[in-house]
């Protein structure tokens, strides 16, 4: 039982951390609390369904699935850019207005998906018969290869992003803007362009997390499935500290282990499991009001 919690918790922890990273990145750089983050996740799952499972490129094979992943991520990135430019950019700086706008966006995406695909839950998965659906065992726990793939991809992407942010020029610009926007502008950083880039990056991260979570863990998607990942990502991000990358990694694992533990102990309490991340978040915040690695907070206390 404990092995199960550890293995499954670690696997979902990696993907959750990736999901939360997008949320924390856009907040850290531009101060936008993007409540439409879960919509990008949901959108990506639908795009994967359209390009992959619906047979747009002929029969479903491994190649078309990989193509579908790439296409879905690119499409979601473009959608994120357009949406940012049209709606979030005009109200930038007003926290509450940004939240209202992003919630409206989330509802719009939900309704568009409902209009396009109806209210049923399409099954999203890797192609039949591929090695990803076979199982192996780690520490005596049977695990599908697709989950292991999700874990590896998320850890590799996380490491790459960390490198990107700490080593490249654009990453340094991002950190500079998150520390002090005015001074960064004086140093010649084009903040508008940087915000757009961050938004695209954040949407793409949500898309990748969405595809891997839906294909390996959830197995289906639905138009209402934007709120669950949103609640997950904001509880992770708040737990780790808004704007902190380390925090989102650690928070992702903490939340995943907590959710898995509750799920194992209370097998019949289905709805309660969804609340476990929120309860953990509230409990941690009462002890540490700025999260574990809080950054970008006012000079209080």
């Amino acid at each position: 039982m404990i092995e199960q919690i550890i293995v499954y918790g670690a696997i979902s922890g990696g993907v959750y951390a990736l999901l939360a990273l997008g949320f924390t990145l856009i907040y850290g750089v531009s101060g936008v609390v993007n409540l439409a983050h879960g919509s990008f996740y949901m959108l990506a799952a639908y795009m994967f369904f359209v390009f992959g499972s619906s047979g747009l490129f002929g029969a479903e094979t491994m190649l078309t699935s990989v193509l579908a992943v790439i296409l879905a991520v690119v499409v979601v990135g473009v959608v994120g850019l357009i949406v940012y430019r049209l709606t979030i950019h005009p109200v930038l700086g007003d926290e509450v207005a940004v939240m209202v706008v992003t919630v409206c966006l989330a509802l719009i995406f939900q309704q568009l998906m409902l209009l396009g695909f109806g209210a049923d839950f399409p099954r999203v998965s890797w192609p039949e018969g591929s090695f990803l659906l076979k199982t192996t065992s780690i520490f005596g726990v049977t695990v599908e290869y697709s989950r292991i793939l999700a874990f590896i991809v998320s850890i590799v992407l996380f490491a790459m992003l960390l490198m990107f942010i700490t080593k490249t020029k654009i990453g340094k610009a991002m950190r500079a803007v998150s520390q002090n926007r005015e001074v960064a502008m004086l140093m010649g950083i084009n903040t508008d362009r940087l915000y757009m880039l961050t938004m695209v990056l954040s949407a793409m991260l949500a898309a990748i997390a969405g595809i891997f979570i839906t294909t390996s863990i959830e197995k289906s998607t639905g138009a209402w499935l934007w709120f669950k990942p949103l609640a997950l990502s904001f509880s992770i991000v708040i737990l780790g500290g808004l704007g902190s990358i380390k925090g989102s990694l650690l928070g992702g694992f903490i939340i995943a282990f907590a959710a898995k533990t509750v799920e194992t102990i209370l097998p019949e309490g289905g709805a309660i499991v969804g609340v476990a991340p929120l309860a953990v978040m509230v409990a941690v915040l009462l002890l540490r009001p700025k999260g574990l690695f809080g950054k970008r907070v006012e000079m209080e206390d």
């Binding site: 907040y27 609390v33 709606t87 005009p90 109200v91 007003d94 926290e95 509450v96 207005a97 939240m99 209202v100 706008v101 919630v103 409206c104 966006l105 509802l107 719009i108 939900q110 309704q111 568009l112 409902l114 209009l115 209210a119 709120f227 609640a231 904001f234 509880s235 708040i238 808004l242 309490g269 709805a271 309660i272 969804g274 609340v275 929120l278 309860a279 978040m281 509230v282 915040l285 009462l286 009001p289 700025k290 999260g291 907070v297 006012e298 000079m299 209080e300």
Partner: protein, 379 residues
């Protein structure tokens, strides 16, 4: 002689305090309109829609007291709304509860609401800004899950919720039962809205309100001035929770659905935000105008007009389309008028006012404007 002088004095004070200040005159006209709407012979159904608008206005005003005046962003106001609805429903339902009358249940619900606001606010107000917004968002969801939990079904009745039925509000009025009942409910909710609006206006213009504004502007600076900001933030939270609970209690009484888990839903949390934003944040008339704009958009445009214009769309797709159009409209409103419709209008009116020739008006008004001008030029 004395009567005419009284009348003249009353008239001149009305002119000085209401007629010559565009925002107040608009508010006065709005109040008159609201007062006479039910006498125009509307169908009971439309009256119940307007009752919902009034309840929504109270809810939005309570949110606005916390966010627009104190700057503590809450995205989980549904928690108070739901607590109000459920405590009223349990107390007053004759089938599932104690069967107490409305005059008892609403005050008790408000007490429960302010106590829960104290309980929630005390830990929550340690966190600030977006942290607070996201933490408060968690509370209604947690409570909703608890209420839907199967072992608690004997108390909260799960998904179905607790229906109160329509209580005889004014027993002496029930001659033509349904219509009169709705009218009585409408006036009851309108009076409640009016009382809440006056109380919130008075709070915002009192010394406490000034402290709230200072916290909104700069919490650190007001702390440095020796203000116990935690105390005032908690005070705002409790007051806000009190009015939100009132709105929830009214909703549970007047809506045919009573108290069900949707009163704690995410939509309910965002409704006051959208309403206050439509009207204009940080004003009392903003919430009221916003609530009516919201209701008009929701009921008369989407559920009435669009089905008539586009009758060929199937029912289900129309439901989807409605929320889509509604969110798009809200999006456009927020981007186009970020300060709200009501505020935009009053700002425009005030610009006109400034341009008008001051000599045309009475000496008192002129003096007042001169003083205002001097004040504004000195800043």
């Amino acid at each position: 002689m004395t009567i005419t002088s009284y009348l003249r004095r009353a008239y001149s004070s009305f002119v000085a305090h209401v007629f010559d200040i565009p925002a107040r005159f608009m508010a006065f006209l709005l109040f008159l309109t609201l007062l006479f709407i039910p006498l125009m012979g509307l169908a009971p159904f439309y009256l119940s829609v307007l009752i919902q608008a009034n309840v929504l206005a109270i809810f939005a005003a309570s949110w606005d007291l916390l966010v627009g005046r104190t700057g503590q962003i809450s995205l989980g106001h549904a928690v108070f709304f739901g607590i109000g609805a459920y405590s009223t429903a349990i107390l007053s339902s004759t089938v599932y509860g104690f069967g107490l009358p409305l005059w008892v249940t609403i005050p008790i619900a408000m007490l429960v609401g302010s106590a829960s606001a104290l309980l929630i606010g005390f830990p929550c107000l340690r966190v600030k800004g977006p942290y607070l917004a996201l933490v408060t968002m968690a509370f209604p969801l947690i409570l909703q899950t608890v209420i839907k939990w199967t072992p608690l079904n004997p108390v909260f009745h799960g998904e179905n919720g607790i229906k109160i039925g329509v209580p005889p509000l004014f027993p002496f009025l029930s001659i033509r039962p349904y219509n009169q009942q709705r009218m009585a409910e409408y006036y009851f909710s309108l009076i409640m809205l009016f009382i809440c609006a006056v109380i919130i206006y008075k709070i915002a213009n009192s010394k406490t309100g000034i402290v709230f504004a200072s916290i909104l502007d700069d919490e650190l600076a007001s702390k440095a001035c020796g203000i116990n900001t935690t105390k005032y933030k908690l005070m705002a939270f409790i007051l806000s929770g009190l009015f939100a609970t009132l709105a929830g209690a009214l909703q549970a009484h007047f809506s045919p659905r009573g108290a069900d888990p949707s009163t704690l839903g995410l939509t309910m949390s965002f409704t006051p935000v959208v309403v206050a934003f439509l009207g204009g944040i940080g004003t009392i008339y903003g919430s009221i105008v916003g609530a009516y704009v919201y209701t008009l958009l929701d009921w008369f445009l989407l559920r009435d007009l669009i089905p008539r214009l586009l009758p060929s769309i199937p029912y289900e797709a129309r439901q989807y389309l409605n929320l889509l159009i509604f969110s798009l409209l809200v999006l456009i409103f927020v981007i186009k008028w970020p300060r709200g419709v009501a505020r935009f209008t009053t700002d425009k009116l005030e610009d006109l006012e400034e341009a008008r020739d001051l000599d045309e008006r009475g000496p008192r008004i002129w003096k007042r404007y001169k003083r205002k001008r001097e004040k504004s030029s000195s800043i």
